[in-house]
Amino acid sequence: MNPTDNRPRLEPEADDPTRVRLHGQWTLATALEVAERLREVPDEVMELDATGISRIDSAGALQLLRYVKRRGMSIGEVAFRDEHRALVSTIEDVADDRPKGKRDYGFVAALARLGYQVQDNGKEIVALLSFTGENLVKMLRILRDPRRLRVTATVYHMEQVGLDAVPLVILLSYLVGAVIAFLGSTILRDFGAEIFVVELVSIAFLREFAVLLTAIVLAGRTASAFTAQIGAMKAREEIDAIRTLGLDPIELLVIPRVLALLITLPLLTFVAMMAGLAGGVTVGAFDLGIPPQMYLARMQETIEIRDFFVGMSKAPVFALVIGLIGCLEGLQVEGTAQSVGERTTSSVVQTISLVIILDAIAALWFMQMGW
């Protein structure tokens, strides 16, 4: 068989210039050629004979229909093979004029999008506040009736959130502590005041860096996990199942997670403080010639317990922020894989920004109070 036979072709009838016979395969694979052939049909042609077409699919039929309509002919006048007639009439039944795409562009649309965005953010803030309130009320209820507390779930999450994060927190804090010591020593060396590195590292870590580093690690590690876990449950209607079984998703899912964070984040902060100070001690001993005994003695003289408490006091606040946003975003997932992804991103971004903003406000507050 001739290979060119598969290509769509026109064959004008020799004795009648108003008739054209169509040949070859009129399919999706040959769609562009089909369009070209149809453009080549001379204007005087009034009749089409499609019985030469060996194979036709809906793409071919659609093009033929469009052409016939454009020329003001009727598809009923076109001769088809019997086996193709069913397809053509089916396509004819459902094909009509192309509707317009319905996406809006331009200034008004952009303005509208901005408006919606602002409105969404406003709603988000209200949702977070009311969610916080709901959780606090339910925690108080648990306090009155401690049997409602899911102890197993809480301990499980403490392991996931707290224990499993210990190596990462130690590593990061130790390295950041060492880096601060190096940084301080290069500047303070010019003044011959290298010993002040002790205060620099200790105060920075006790007051700010330990709790901030821990919170940022947990925001990336835990808030995302909470959102994805609860979001997947929401998408598969598990949350609805929990509700219909007479259980409370907040009590069952949110409070154990938030409580686990409330307990473990201060503990992790303490671990981070120790690791950061150890980083400072290491750099002091090997690079600055401050032996550990002297380093620790200097710390005891200059650092007040207040610095430790200032740092620690922020830990429960950050724990609440991370836990509540992570869970709330999870509960707002809407059934698709896309939505789970969007919400997870949003929860990490929100927690990290909020943690840093709150830390900055707290720093100002403590400075003004002289604490």
């Binding site: 999706l28 769609a31 809906s58 793409a59 659609l62 009439s89 094909a95 509707p99 698709t336 894989a337």
Partner: protein, 287 residues
């Protein structure tokens, strides 16, 4: 690309019976064996799907209907056996062989398997973009609209996300995507599962109508007795790790096999058969 050969096949002399069957088979599975660990799902399984028929595949839960489909589609590497799909070896990993199978088969998975982040229209355009990227956007859009309407959805469904559709509409959208490339061979995995009886009957009719209009061959996995009686030309029964029989449903009913007897002679089968006798669905097709 199958058409020319068919036209040329011995136009004058009447072909002998086995040769005609060989010509007819669009899927041929021989000696298929599938194992999961120590569990054997298929052993030495043979199956033949003829061009232009609707083959219903039935079997109990866990009898390996979906595994069979996945093997034929090349989604699962079988442990032994030959699979020919559209005169191509389904186990071949050659690019042109894969393309031949991918372009000429459409699959409707259970619950549609639509991409949840894309609208219905975009879902239908995915295979068109992948395989026929030379077509202009407006054509792809137009073809997608055509397929969506062929599947019995309203035109505005084109812009909806799968999560905004009901279960029945999701199946129709999945069917539209399966039909995007006008494949001669269509695989349906439990198309009527989870639909109400009216929706299921409508979907059966839709499959039959499309099969007749587009000249499809349909490989249809189902539990739905109504579907079997209404639209299947032949039924293949999967049991004991094999296809125990492939025949028109009237013959399958008479088969002396415990599972078949239970399946086709339970109360539900009787109801399905009776309703079929009372209201033959082929009459509705013409209407």
């Amino acid at each position: 690309m199958q058409e020319p050969r068919q036209i040329n096949a011995h136009p004058t002399e009447p072909p002998d019976a086995p040769a005609a069957q060989a010509q007819d088979a669009i899927i041929r599975v021989t000696g298929l064996t599938n194992r999961f660990g120590s569990q054997t799902v298929h052993e030495d399984l043979d199956l033949e799907v003829r061009r232009g028929e609707i083959l219903g595949v039935v079997g109990g839960s866990g009898s390996g209907k979906s595994v069979l489909m996945r093997s034929i589609l090349g989604l699962r590497e079988p442990d032994a056996g030959q699979i020919q799909v559209l005169d191509t070896d389904a186990r071949s990993r050659k690019r042109e062989d894969r393309l031949n199978i991918e372009r000429n088969t459409g699959v409707l998975f259970q619950d549609g398997a639509l991409f949840s982040s894309l609208s219905v229209g975009e879902n239908v355009q995915v295979p068109l973009k992948e395989h026929y990227s030379q077509l202009p956007d407006s054509w792809r859009y137009e073809l997608a609209l055509l397929k969506v309407k062929l599947a019995g959805l309203p035109a505005d469904a084109l812009y909806k996300l799968p999560s905004q559709l009901s279960g029945g509409m999701r199946k129709r959208a999945g069917l539209a995507r399966a039909l995007a490339l006008d494949p001669p061979l269509l695989f349906l995995d439990e198309p009527t599962a989870g639909l109400d009886p009216i929706g299921a009957a409508a979907f059966d009719r839709l499959i039959k109508t499309l099969q007749e209009a587009l000249g499809l061959t349909v490989f249809l996995i189902t539990h739905d007795l109504d579907t079997l009686y209404a639209i299947c030309d032949r039924v293949a029964v999967l049991a004991d790790r094999k296809v125990v029989a492939t025949a028109p449903i009237a013959e399958i009913e008479q088969l002396d096999h415990p599972w078949v007897q239970e399946y086709f002679h339970g109360p539900r089968a009787r109801a399905a058969r009776d309703s079929q006798a009372a209201y033959p669905r082929t009459a509705e097709n013409k209407a």
